[in-house]
Each structure stands twice: as structure tokens, then as C-alpha cells.
Symmetry: C2
Subunit: 154 residues, 2 copies
DNA sequence: GCCTTGCTGCGAATCGCTTGCAATAGCGAT
DNA sequence: ATCGCTATTGCAAGCGATTCGCAGCAAGGC
């Protein structure tokens, strides 16, 4: 109800591959769609929709925020991108490369750790054991305090 | 930076005790403040600010949403209340009684499990072990899929 | 009871995101 | 190349949650 259905990640190598997939899925590939893709491939870290709309700080043509959201949503349905919500900030979008990265955020200093699925298996196992839930930290990250902040703040 | 500083929970028995604490902290206790407190003590589950502003469905006098937020914030700083963010919905506020409850939300059906601190210790231990983080699911809950949804959805 | 000033109430603003709609532009067919 | 259908865009307005500004009211110390 809250989260979009998850499909197997496609791990696209470059924007052109995604363009092919988009067309295969019956979509048109507009300038805005290409720009959003270019931005996602150019960004090293998850980016907010607004940064994409601003052309990633001038490197790319600016486009309408609305359009960015619509493209991101489409790409997300295709399994090409995913987004995380860190705290109360805007969602951050990134390409799904090989398996979804999961996130752990420090509420003290804001540090974000990216963990791969495997590293979190013990955690997931503990949750499964205790609650029967299959935990996921891809869309909503885990929150806590990093070692330094935990020591400092008690 | 994201989350309010956490203090030791005070576990107030009734509204009057909180009133005393409010005054001790140099606050005035207005009608709105009393009503917010009454609502929090009356509610069995975490409530949204708007429900409190609406007088909890007629049982209590209605008040200004702004005021509710301001009172909740004050009470939160005092360590009397805390709030959770479930998905993209409004924050849900509740009294801190004895140790903060932690939450696990099913992204499939929306079910929310309340777990006490102790039950989550194995999970916290696994996180500590793997990442050095001290995890907390009080303000931002853990997300995942409950047993039924996990089975159903794959 | 008086006076100070913290709180309230109301309005407007902000932030992240969605929706409505007419104009534009992909792209398959010609 | 060009045509035509309609998916997408751009712009404006809307929305839900929360915050801010400010004048007037009312807690509560004296």
C-alpha cells in the first residue's frame, strides 16, 4: 500500500539500454526522459528530483520538476531506478545496478552508510526470527547513531 | 541533525504530573496545553496532531492545529511525548511511558507491530556487530513485509 | 487585582509532491 | 519526407503536513 511493487533489478549498463527498455515497454523517449536518465547516470550518489530538474547544477539542461517526477516514477516502475527517504528530506533517486543497496542513517551526524543486501542478512535473520517480518532498508532506511555519535551522546 | 535529542523517559502517571513538570520547566499551562495532554492520555494508540486538534472526535474541545503542534513539540522536548513516522503519513504522537516502543511496519498491508526495546535487542546486536551503529526504530520505524505478505508477494 | 510576557489563534507561507489540461513532439505508418 | 495519433511535456494550480509571523489574550508571579 505504501511501497511500489519490487521487480527483479535489470542492471542496465548505460542510458541507451534503458532507452531500448523504455521503448520495449511502449514508452516514448522524450528529451526530458533522456535528460533524467543522463542525470541519473552522471550522478555518483542518490539525487533529489529537484537537482535533476535543475540540470544537476548546470551540467545538463534544466527541466520541469513535474516532468522529472513523472519520468522517475516511470523508470521506477520499470525497475531501473529506486528511491530512498532519508529523514524528512526529499526522496533521493538512483539507478538500480545490481541488487538494491540498503541504507543506514545516523540521526546524530547525518552520515549515511550504504550496505549491500548480504551484509544485512544477519540483521534480517534476527528480525525474521523475532517478528516473522522480512525487513528491508531500501526504501526507508534504518536509523540509529553511528559509533562516534552513540559514544558521544550516550 | 535530523532527530530531536533523546533524554531519559520520565514515565508520567497522569496529566497533572506533566503539568507540574511543565511549570517546573518554566512553561505556562494553558487550556490548549491541558487539552493536548488530555488527548494523549485518552488515546490508546499513537495519534496524529490533526486528531488532537479535532478534539479526538468530539470528546474534547477542538483547538488550533498550530497550537497542537507547538504543544507537542514542547512536550517532546520535555521527554513526555515522542512521535513516529509511518510511511508518508502524518507523524503519530504518543506519551513516552516506560522506554520507547519501537515499530515495524508492513509495506504490503500496512500492519504496524509495536515491539518493546528488549524484543529488538538481537536485531540491534546484529546491527552493532556488522556496522557499529546503535539502531533505533522509535522515530523512524523498521519497514518490511509481514509473514503473510512476504509469502504472498514473494 | 495588576502586569508582564508566554501562548494562542488566525492567516499566510513552505516544502515535497501530485494533478489537470492544452500544446507539443515521439514515432509507427504512409 | 510527411502525416496523424496520442504519449509527454510545461505550466499552473492544488494538496497534505508542518512552520512562521504577529496581534491579542490570559497564565501566574507579585
Amino acid at each position: 500500500m505504501t511501497t511500489a511493487p519490487r521487480r527483479e533489478p535489470l542492471a542496465f549498463g548505460d542510458a541507451d539500454e534503458v532507452v531500448v527498455a523504455l521503448r520495449a515497454a511502449g514508452h516514448r523517449v522524450s528529451r526530458a526522459a533522456r535528460t533524467v536518465l543522463a542525470a541519473l547516470f552522471a550522478a555518483e550518489r542518490p539525487v533529489a528530483a529537484e537537482q535533476i530538474a535543475d540540470g544537476l547544477g548546470g551540467d545538463l539542461p534544466a527541466l520541469e520538476l513535474t516532468s522529472v517526477y513523472r519520468n522517475l516514477e516511470r523508470l521506477e516502475q520499470l525497475g531501473v531506478v529506486s528511491h530512498v527517504h532519508v529523514g524528512h528530506s526529499p526522496g533521493l533517486y538512483s539507478l538500480v545496478r545490481d541488487g538494491d543497496p540498503e541504507y543506514i542513517v545516523c540521526d546524530g551526524c547525518g552520515a549515511v552508510v550504504t550496505a549491500d543486501h548480504a551484509a544485512l542478512e544477519p540483521v534480517r535473520a534476527a528480525v525474521r526470527e523475532a517478528f516473522g517480518y522480512e525487513a528491508s532498508f531500501t526504501h526507508f532506511p534504518m536509523h540509529g547513531r553511528c559509533a562516534a555519535c552513540a559514544r558521544r551522546g550516550g
